[in-house]
Amino acid sequence: MYKIIDKQTINKDIDYMKVEAPLVARNAKPGHFIILRVDEDGERIPLTIAGIDGQNVDIIYQKMGYSTQLLGQKEIGDTVADFVGPLGKAAHIRDKKHVVGVAGGVGAAPLLPQLKAYKAAGSKVTLILGARSKDYLILKETYEQFVDNVIYTTDDGTFGEKGLVTEPLERLLSEDETIDHVIAIGPVIMMKFTVQVALKHNKSIDVSLNPIMIDGTGMCGNCRVSIGGKTYFACIDGPDFEGHEVDFDGLMRRQSYYKDEEHQCYLRLKDGK
């Protein structure tokens, strides 16, 4: 059992949680993730490690469906049944002069440790943070403490520029010659279009892929992704990959394979089992 040390509501959909897990904290690096089960009948869900604090691990999760909603019902002092990690390959922090991080929605959480690592390695760091609307822009203050530039976008124009993250990216890449790398983390559709912009400007780009996972140890093969016609297991070969040749359409289809079933599970939670 893993104890919840702290919990905060970031907005209606997103919570932050600090969980006591010394064996995860010990070797964790930016880019690593964990898999947890809320209770004994729970499914195994992957979440990125958003930060490490001694024996504790920070996660930031969006309450998408059944399991994340169930997690959201847990409070400080409660426990979750299982919490394993660090999983995946640590992010490859490249030797770059000026990196643009592009985050969509809850993607701001997994991007945070990576951008911090780039900053610490001496890169100039620009952030484009996008969300549906003002209330969904997360980690604003945290990022503002260390990034060199920041641009906000919201779909509805309630904060920052109105529109998608790809628009300011397009502009930055046309105007600023010093930019030599992009990282994009967020919904698959956002990463797909961000990669197209980077490709157009001939910039390298890393993305973080989030297929459905079970074990996270390379055993089941559920998490496979197609990149340049080759198959990779996101849990052991990733989750971060060079973005140019990723089959994003295939990933989207694989992510939604259980949509109807997930909805069924979610309804059960709403009806109180």
Partner: protein, 459 residues
């Protein structure tokens, strides 16, 4: 010397009924059955059966005790060599091991050694007979990586000697393939749980959710004072077909399919939160135990038509004979001498599988006739396809342990003492041999324990 009495049959669930439930297929012997079967053994002076058992269970001796109604003695006798008799009695490929060598098999039917071992093992569980005593406590700490049969056998042997043994398991449940791979209808999970409970009683510590190489590295284990380490991390990495369409929705590796059902209990979805979806018509590629388990599981969770697609003939099927027999009884179609060449789909979802008809040519290095392409094709309409063509050792430990040498295909290299290229680090089971059997994994776990004992004594 031939024994003309036929084997005592084990009662089984009716095939039609059982193909809709997860209860055990074979129901086990009664005391009368067991004694009747025990009577068939002629107590050979030079028992061939024992030599053919990888852990050398003293077969005629335990059988004689069954005959004498001394079930406790029979259990103790087996337990000296095999700490998981209830499991091995159920899943060993007896026809190619103990029973395959039984002298009675030459002119008639061999003794049902597996069935007897299962009977005695179950009797031991019911009556709590497992010897959980420890010789003399020793201060040295030993770490065991993985809770599959190799790790369990290793941990038990070392704990018996008195070492302070901790088993680290990556998943949230113990047992390795016994737990997440082999389905309930062949190996009920409470048997696995009870066998593991015996080790806990003995004083073996179990820690779940720890991935050695990630959560703790081998080097860190040494720093923490583990004086010897045994790696029994298995062969979990699934092999791909390498044909177009393999990443469509509806294409499962057997590991994913079986893990969803056995470990995550998706057969009781939505009470358990992990779903599974296979549709009405399911193809299973492969001919081993894994393929049979996947096919029979697919039937049980509601598939109407399940077909095995295998590129050789029936005689070459590597699965246990009993499983092939049970699968056919349950209505699994056997499309033999077919090899999938393409998975066809629409919108990233499986619709059909195109297979090439094969014919058998010359014998290859494995002694089996090599399947050759014929240029004729057939296409089956399907809703999902489960790929079960083999597994390789998991790369996590290798990738995170400098100095650990492995073969090109991933198997950990060990010397005659089961020691790896790193001093004090031993390995066994599927992680070393590639996908093999429960009893071979246990055998190497046990042998490695003897070597670890010697290593620690001479330190």
């Amino acid at each position: 010397m031939a024994n003309k009495t036929p084997r005592t049959k084990m009662p089984e669930q009716d095939p039609v009924k059982r193909s809709t439930n997860f209860l055990e297929v074979a129901l086990g012997y009664t005391v009368e059955d067991a004694k009747k079967e025990a009577l068939r053994c002629i107590d050979c002076k030079n028992p061939k059966c024992v030599m053919a058992c990888p852990v050398r269970v003293k077969i005629p001796e335990f059988i004689k005790q069954v005959l004498n109604d001394d079930m406790e003695g029979a259990f103790d006798k087996i337990y000296e060599d095999n700490i998981l008799p209830s499991i091995c009695g159920r899943v060993c490929p007896q026809e190619s091991q103990c029973e395959g060598a039984c002298i009675l098999g030459i002119k008639g039917e061999p003794v049902s050694i597996g069935a007897l071992e299962r009977f005695v093992g179950d009797y031991g569980i019911e009556n709590n007979l497992a010897d959980t005593s420890v010789e003399t406590e020793k201060p040295q700490k030993v770490a065991v990586v993985g809770s599959g049969p190799a790790g369990l056998a290793n941990a038990a042997s070392l704990r018996r000697k008195g070492y302070q043994v901790t088993v680290f398991e990556a998943l949230h449940a113990y047992g390795g393939v016994l737990n997440y791979g082999i389905p309930d209808f062949r190996l009920p999970k409470d048997i696995v749980r009870k066998e593991i409970d015996n080790l806990k009683t003995m004083g073996v510590k179990f820690v779940k959710n720890v991935i050695i190489g990630k959560s703790i590295t081998i080097e860190q284990l040494k720093e923490e004072g583990y004086e010897a380490i045994f790696i029994g991390s298995g062969a979990g990495l699934p092999s791909a077909l390498g044909v177009p369409g393999e990443n469509y929705n509806g294409v499962y590796f057997a590991n994913e399919f079986l893990t969803r059902v056995n470990l995550m209990r998706s057969n009781s979805f939505p009470l358990s939160a992990t779903p599974i979806k296979i549709g009405d018509t399911v193809a299973v590629v492969g001919g081993g135990n894994v393929a049979m388990d996947a096919a029979r599981t697919a039937k049980r969770i509601g598939a109407k038509r399940v077909m095995i697609i295998y590129r050789r003939d029936k005689e070459s099927l590597p699965a246990r004979l009993e499983e092939v027999h049970h699968a056919i009884e349950e209505g699994i179609e056997m499309n033999l001498l077919y090899n999938p060449v393409e998975i066809l789909g629409e919108n990233y979802e499986v619709k059909a599988v195109k297979c090439e008809r094969m014919k058998l040519g010359e014998e290859d290095s494995s002694g089996r006739r090599r399947p050759l392409p014929t240029g004729e094709y057939v296409t089956y309409d399907i809703d999902s396809i489960i790929v079960s063509i083999g597994q390789k050792p998991n790369p996590i430990i290798k990738q995170n342990t400098s100095g650990l040498t492995t073969h090109d295909w991933g198997g950990i290299i060990t010397d005659e003492n089961h020691m790896t290229s790193i001093d004090g680090v031993f390995a066994g089971g599927d992680a070393v041999t590639g996908a093999a059997t429960v009893i071979l994994a246990m055998g190497t776990g046990k042998e490695a324990a003897a070597n670890i004992n010697r290593y620690l004594q001479s330190k």
